[in-house]
């Protein structure tokens, strides 16, 4: 592997890592910070991709469709929280697993009814569709680079929100001791509804942003669910910084795994997870 190719592979790894962070960001919020086991995370991702597909056709502009899609996703999040999720905060985790697993089945069936079972694609927005040449025969699509930029911005935004604002402090406090926060005069119910909706919106946004480079197809949510949990667990539950570092590590490990040890490429990410959890069972930035 010469230097140019090596550097391109590093770029591939970082770019994939940032995408993984985005994909896992909704889960970082709902599972990592609120402490709810949310197996329906992949379904929210899938809904986002399908929304991008339909809304882009309806509105004609990808970015406007994105904005509209986020509004729809927030509405879905608020409704779900009010309808079912709020009854389970005090319950055992098993109830959350059962509920969110049920949601997967419901969303999968609804997707089949509304959109059918065909594979769809979303066109890359015109201004970003061209590619920049890197070597004599390889180039990089501008949209991929733009996507990495958006992922970074979301990572910074989330870190700022959770670590540096009063709202973030309240959310963190609420996840540690719900009653105490409530008795301090904070409407924890409303707060949780908002954070849950934000988590759903982030998952859907990831699906929407990924839809032009990925494709839109049944079962796409299942593919991101496991890797999202891996990101949150490696990074340390509840840490935005950890999730970002973990996502980058996984992106690089996966990229070089495929190139250097193709025989076990499928296992590299999980070997990394096992190694990190042996070293730090609470995750890289987890609180012991």
């Amino acid at each position: 592997m010469d230097t140019a190719i090596f550097l391109i592979q590093v770029l591939n790894g970082i770019q994939y890592g940032l995408l993984l962070f985005l994909v896992a960001s909704g889960l970082t919020l709902i599972f990592g910070i609120m402490g709810i086991i949310n197996l329906a995370h992949g379904s929210f991702y899938m809904i986002g991709a399908y929304l991008a597909f339909s809304l882009t056709r309806l509105i004609g502009d990808f970015w406007l469709a994105l904005a509209a899609g986020v509004v729809v996703a927030v509405a879905i999040g608020l409704l779900l929280e009010w309808l079912v999720m709020r009854f389970l905060y005090q319950r055992d985790h098993l109830y959350q697993v059962l509920l969110t697993y049920g949601l997967i089945l419901i969303f999968e069936e609804a997707r089949s009814l509304v959109w059918g079972d065909d594979v769809h694609g979303v066109a890359v927005p015109g201004a970003l569709a061209h590619s920049i040449p890197l070597t004599e025969n390889l180039s990089y699509q501008v949209y991929r680079l733009a996507m990495s930029g958006i992922c970074l911005a979301i990572a910074l935004g989330m870190y700022w929100l959770i670590q540096k604002t009063r709202l973030g402090m309240t959310i963190r406090a609420g996840s540690v001791n719900r009653e105490m926060v409530q008795s301090l005069g904070i409407n924890i119910g409303l707060l949780y509804r908002l954070v849950f909706a934000l988590g759903v919106a982030l998952a859907a946004l990831a699906g929407m942003l990924a839809s032009p480079v990925s494709s839109v197809f049944p079962g796409m949510g299942n593919q991101v669910l496991i890797i999202s949990f891996v990101v949150v667990v490696i990074g340390g539950i509840g840490s935005v910084k950890g999730a970002l570092v973990a996502a980058l590590l996984i992106g690089l490990a996966d990229t070089f795994g495929k190139v250097l040890v193709p025989q076990i490429a499928g296992m590299v990410v999980y070997l990394l997870m096992a190694a990190i959890l042996l070293w730090r069972p609470q995750g890289i930035f987890g609180r012991g």
Partner: protein, 400 residues
């Protein structure tokens, strides 16, 4: 005690009385039952949910379309369907197939799409000797090591679909190639077949690249292809992964300098989603758009009229499964127990398929033309015949 005794005798009386009535009713209805032979039970074990749902539905639609064209009867027998969603889950395959055969007592087992599930079904078919038709799954073993007199295939083997590709690429001047696919059973079968065909005409595979199934992060391997600089790339992908691969390959700027080839699954049912990235790609398969057969035109028209959908290669395979069954049943006048007669009739038949006429090999797999197609708009346009009457080598099959 005496109360119990009384109850017992009353119950016994009721039972006897009921039995008598049932007997009388049975005797009354008996002549009608003889006049009207029982419906033939067809077990449709296909995916109706999940990634392959669209394929399962296309096969079912076309199967029923052929039966409807025949007035709802095959070999003089009316049909009754027992439909089962196999969820493309290999873990449930044996139980599901056994349930259809043993509990629901189906006379014919039709299915399925997923090769892993197919292996479970083949096991049950071999054990119970039920007449079986495979309308898609391309695993070579089903008509190879595991071939059996009662098992037929109306679709293809993985080997057949990609074997002619090496010859095609060589004719277009590509002496070296990279290979990329998912690392799983179908991907490896496709690779072996491609390699065999390509090396036979003097081609050299300079780079073999594999991804874990169903991973769709291709960027690292695309970089490897660019670094290896082969004359062309051959691949096997299908469904959502095929859409992403074709788009990524184009976005990485490789399409111009290192042309992409594959078998037809790369561009079948995915062209709307692939858009401009797929334009001009050459693929090989046993079906194409714009074939000039009258049978194909008629089939496409009827299918579109009935289901308000355009048929695809999977629909053709479902239609031909019904055609093969009809040929067998007609030879024995609908007596499904006369399996030897059914098998002999199908083995001898020439099936007038929308894909063109084909015959059945000794291993019970279609012997058919493989076409070269090129993507143009949202169609896989017929370019020519890549290989005339290609038969699967059926390695390990002891039949015939």
């Amino acid at each position: 005690m005496s109360g119990n005794k009384l109850q017992f005798s009353r119950r016994k009386f009721l039972k006897t009385a009921a039995g008598g009535t049932a007997l009388a009713a049975g005797a009354l209805h008996a002549p009608f039952i003889i006049a009207q032979p029982a419906k033939l039970k067809i077990g449709l074990m296909l995916p109706y949910t999940g990634t392959f749902a669209a394929l399962g539905n296309a096969i079912t639609n076309a199967f029923k379309l052929y039966v409807a064209e025949k007035g709802g009867k095959l070999g003089g027998r009316e049909l009754e369907y027992v439909v089962l969603d196999d969820e493309s889950d290999p873990a449930k395959a044996v139980d599901n197939a056994a349930r259809l055969v043993n509990r629901d007592k189906v006379d014919v087992l039709v299915g399925t799409v997923h090769s892993g599930v197919q292996m479970g079904m083949v096991k049950v078919s071999r054990e119970t000797n039920v007449l079986s038709i495979i309308p898609n799954a391309g695993a070579g073993a089903a008509t190879g090591q595991l071939c059996a007199p009662n098992i037929f295939r109306s679709s293809f083997t993985n080997w057949q679909t990609i074997h002619p590709l090496g010859k095609v690429m060589m004719e277009k001047g590509h002496k070296t190639a990279a290979w990329i696919s998912w690392k799983y059973a179908a991907g490896e079968e496709m690779f072996q077949s491609f390699k065999e065909g390509y090396e036979k005409v003097g081609g050299k595979i300079v780079k073999e690249l594999w991804l874990p199934f169903p991973n769709v992060e291709f960027q690292a391997l695309l970089t490897e292809i660019a670094a290896a600089k082969p004359s062309a790339t051959a691949c096997f992908f299908a469904g959502g992964g095929a859409v992403k691969f074709v788009k990524d390959y184009d976005a990485a700027g490789l399409k111009k300098s290192i042309p992409l080839y594959g078998n037809g699954f790369l561009t079948d049912g995915t062209l709307q989603a692939q858009g401009a990235s797929a334009q001009g790609l050459f693929t090989t398969l046993h079906y194409a758009d714009s074939l000039e057969f009258p049978k194909d035109k008629e089939f496409r028209l009827n299918y579109a009229k009935t289901y308000k959908l355009q048929p695809d290669v999977y629909a053709v395979q479902g239609y031909d499964a019904a055609q093969m069954l009809a040929i067998g049943l007609e030879a024995v006048k609908g007596d499904v127990k006369a399996q030897k007669g059914i098998v002999a009739a199908i083995e001898k038949a020439t099936i007038n398929s929308p894909r063109g006429r084909f015959t059945i090999s000794k291993a019970h797999n279609p012997v058919m033309d493989i076409y070269l197609r090129q993507v143009s708009g949202e169609q896989n346009k017929f370019v020519g015949v890549a290989w005339k009457a290609l038969a699967d080598p059926a390695r390990g099959c002891k039949m015939g």
